[in-house]
Symmetry: C2
Subunit: 360 residues, 2 copies
């Protein structure tokens, strides 16, 4: 157990956006929201997965929707608490800890707001080890854990509670409701007992994103290369250095979908990298060939500052280093790839682990 204060949120939000792979919302906004909650209610206790008792009830909280809309519809903080408390009331058991569903600028920090406001500890882990766009795309799905009962709440006072036969159905209903709610909703889902958390989640995610954020901050302070620092902490690889020359994005079926085109500079001069995304980056295509794909992480870092660039922050002329980071091993099983591999997203290619292509 350790305490997370306002200051620690700086590194956490920055690092979270690295694992957010373009999605998960604006880390700056996420940071401000969580800092505000900590200022009002005090620091948050971060506990390790093994500190949970087997029957402790743990409930992840998050924001759902297209990141482009999420940053327009910032929660006041009480909507997510409302969704969280509604689920707790339905379950009829006091929740012992909050958790992150995914790593990402907003969804790593929203749970801090909930934890601070309710005086609950936050579990050091998440259910993706990164960000993915759809609700069923979590490691608990691989362990047969249900996303429901799940609650959704909006900023107007509407709420919904879902019970579904599988997590794909949860995604379907929750996406429709989120679209009706204006494109973004606050959610509480995947209620789990401690014993389930111990076997089914990715451990240490908050500590990892804090280390990533810290490495970027310290590299900049020491005039060192922040990109190298990120690669060192994450075990990632430099995929492409380029300038953004085109971005096409649209909100479709409740997702921010689109693609960005990068023209190579330095060692990559004369080459092109195309990044396609659905909230998160799905594939990186170099000169027509997929070189990194889900479930591995594709992250764009500002070439100067090392700061992660979300899809909605991509703009013409920005120089970025595209980085590929190996995903958690759970995603590389046949079941994992069926859930979040390139074929699920419509790419008829074999998944090749990023280190196979870029490792030395």
């Amino acid at each position: 157990m350790r305490w997370i204060d306002e200051k620690a949120l700086e590194d956490i939000a920055m690092g979270a956006a690295v694992l957010g792979t373009g999605g998960g919302g604006d880390p700056y906004i996420g940071k401000l929201m969580a800092q505000q909650a900590i200022r009002e209610h005090g620091p948050v206790r971060l506990i390790e997965v093994d500190e949970l008792a087997d029957d402790d009830l743990v409930v992840p909280a998050a924001m759902m929707g297209a990141p482009t809309v999420m940053v327009e519809k910032l929660p006041r903080g009480d909507e997510v608490v409302k969704a969280f408390k509604a689920l707790e009331a339905y379950l009829g058991t006091p929740v012992k800890a909050v958790m992150s569903i995914e790593a990402g600028g907003l969804n790593s920090t929203v749970p801090f707001s909930v934890a601070a406001r309710l005086g609950l500890p936050l579990v050091d882990g998440d259910t993706m080890g990164r960000a993915f766009p759809e609700i069923q795309m979590v490691t608990p799905t691989l362990f047969g854990i249900s996303a429901t009962p799940m609650t959704l709440a909006d900023d107007k006072g509407n709420s919904a509670l879902l019970s579904t036969i599988d997590n794909r159905w949860t995604e379907r209903f929750a996406r429709s409701i989120t679209i009706d709610m204006g494109g973004a909703s606050m959610i509480a889902l995947y209620p789990m007992r401690g014993a389930q958390v111990k076997k089914a989640v990715v451990r240490g995610t908050i500590t990892l994103i804090e280390r990533i954020g810290k490495s970027i901050r310290e590299a900049r302070q020491n005039k060192a290369d922040p990109i190298e620092a990120v690669l060192s902490v994450t075990g990632g690889f430099r995929v492409f250095v380029g300038k953004i020359i085109d971005v096409a994005r649209r909100t479709e079926s409740g997702f921010a979908k689109g693609e960005a085109t990068l023209a190579g500079i330095d060692a990559d001069r004369g080459h092109t990298l195309k990044i396609e995304f659905q909230n998160e980056h799905l594939v990186a295509i170099r000169d027509g060939e997929v070189v990194v794909s889900v479930p591995d992480l594709i992250t764009l870092l500002d070439a100067e500052t090392g700061e992660p660039v979300t899809t909605e922050a991509m703009r013409y002329g920005l120089r970025v280093v595209t980085v590929g980071i190996p995903c958690t091993e759970l995603w590389r099983s046949p079941e994992g790839l069926a859930l979040v591999g390139p074929r699920y997203f419509g790419y008829d290619i074999e998944y090749v682990p990023v280190e196979k292509r870029f490792g030395h």
Copy 2:
């Protein structure tokens, strides 16, 4: 209080489809379902509104969706009980009686299934005095009564519980979920206390539809005119006699929308009547002029048999008498017309009560 048995369902289902104004589903199927439940569980007690205690909890149950889909996705009966019991569990109070949300081939008989299966009485009334396509279009809305908490259940085992800030939001979320559920869902909504039922519902609807059905049956037995019998019981008017020469229907945004064109025969020879519908008939347009509109009822009766013709049963060549029936006075207030008048449905016309145009 009186008992409704299998045989009474014959008249009830037939009469319900008259007030269903084209929507509300197939009366034959609705009848079979309710009769099956009564055969298995015994007759249903029909109680008058005034037999309720002021704090008795009453819950209407219904099927939601495009009638075209509803007849394809017939409930086994346990889905609607599931939705009903889920709402009861959420409310934490035993339900004392079931009610119909609307009159219609399926939605007048579904509550009989629930009442029979759960051994509960059915209230002699409904919340429209007819059928309307959208959830907020009920008399309780005029009295500030909320549609939520509301539950939805499908045939696969999925369910949802909604809490909304107003009944238009309920319609929005429930429609999306119903579309996701395949276009039809079983619902429980507008939970009310006896005191609310007494002031906010249309009374005697079951008794009225039974009388309508009986009048058609007896007229046929006695070789009398079943159309005249319906007009006499409902206070309705003969609007047009014609042959269906064209029907266009589509399922759009979860509704069965479309229009039918009738070529006049007998006294209406040389004239045309167009009926436009959204699940239910909205307007009847004679030679380009609206002659009957919501909230008054527009019903097509088979010219030979007097049986009501639902929109999905309309077919080329069928000879029908179009009948206009005055709606309940509640719908004729400014608030009522704002909720269910022609302008809500996109017709820029003043509402003219049907008896003003056709009364003698």
